[in-house]
Amino acid sequence: MRLTREHASWLVTNIPGSHVRPDDLERTYTVHPPIPSAPALPHERRVAIDGDALVWEVFLETDTSVAVSDGWIARRLYAHIPFAGGIGEGAVAHHARLVLAPDFRRRTIGGTICANEERLYRRWGVREIHLHAKQDGPTVWIRLGFAPRDPESLLAEFRRWAARRGHDPHLRDWADLPGEFLRGYSWLPLIKVLH
């Protein structure tokens, strides 16, 4: 699973200052879960330039062909997207999904992949990650440092929710949002700004 010369050229041409290595994706998605000891290895479904985006889709499995990811991990990288977390535009990655097979959840694999991706994005010059969280996703992603893309709208709805239940409507941190409140969102836009 290697980036071709074409992919590397797209990155350095569209994102000035990006540093690209051919094995970037392979290194990013190779993780070593504590149990079982076999590493989760990435397998490429697609790495391609699709319109004005660089896209890649991978699935993870052990060397004994046990699925680690539940379906594909899909990413799209755009070089010129208006920033949600500030003024201007630049490189933004959109994360479509990261779901792990049940036996591999709660073993720090998801957090490791996210940390690897952020390290890669910083080297490539990506400024923001955008995603939509569903099911139990909002709680997990907010714990991993993501924030609402429309904080004023979410806070307005939290004030309404808190007023109905007699909760304190003031928050110190996004991580203080109750899971019961966040479970009401089936498609919540979240972002992470990479400094």
Partner: protein
């Protein structure tokens, strides 16, 4: 065409925004919602839309004629506690009536001008109604964000 979007929750009014000829004017806004409106005005609306297996971006600047409609749909889709009302008012040219000996002022009291109101409240069905001038849109200009 002039459009007005009103945004609120069960608890409080959040904003009333008007789009007219490419400009966005804020007529009333909750203090904690000002930054959202200012961000939309400056940066427009970015959406990620499903397209086949992929999710692709769509950016609509606030000067775009479609901006308020897309913002209304975006809020309704992503924030179920938001109630939005979008009103569109066609701007009709005023014709001179002096040649027929009628003063324009004579017409105004009976002007059942065609003000088209399209309301969507919490994803409910759209309704069409006729309103007299000033009825469909009469916001109180409080807390206007710098244009």
């Amino acid at each position: 065409m002039r459009e007005t979007l009103s945004i609120r929750t069960d608890l409080e009014h959040l904003a009333t925004i008007e789009w007219c000829e490419g400009s966005l004017v804020v007529h009333a806004v909750h203090p904690e919602y000002e930054t959202a409106v200012e961000r939309w005005r400056l940066q427009g609306l970015l959406e990620w839309l499903p397209e086949g297996e992929a999710v692709v971006p769509r950016h609509t600047p606030s000067s775009d004629r479609l901006f308020l409609g897309r913002l209304e749909a975006y809020l309704r889709t992503h924030y179920p506690g938001h109630h939005t009302v979008l009103q569109a008012t066609p701007t009709t040219p005023v014709k001179s009536t002096e040649a027929r000996g009628i003063e324009l002022g004579d017409l105004l009291p009976m002007a059942a001008a065609a003000v088209l109101t399209f309301s969507l409240v919490g994803g409910g069905a759209g309704t069409l109604e006729l309103a007299r001038p000033g009825q469909a849109f009469s916001p109180t200009p409080t807390g206007q964000v710098r244009p």
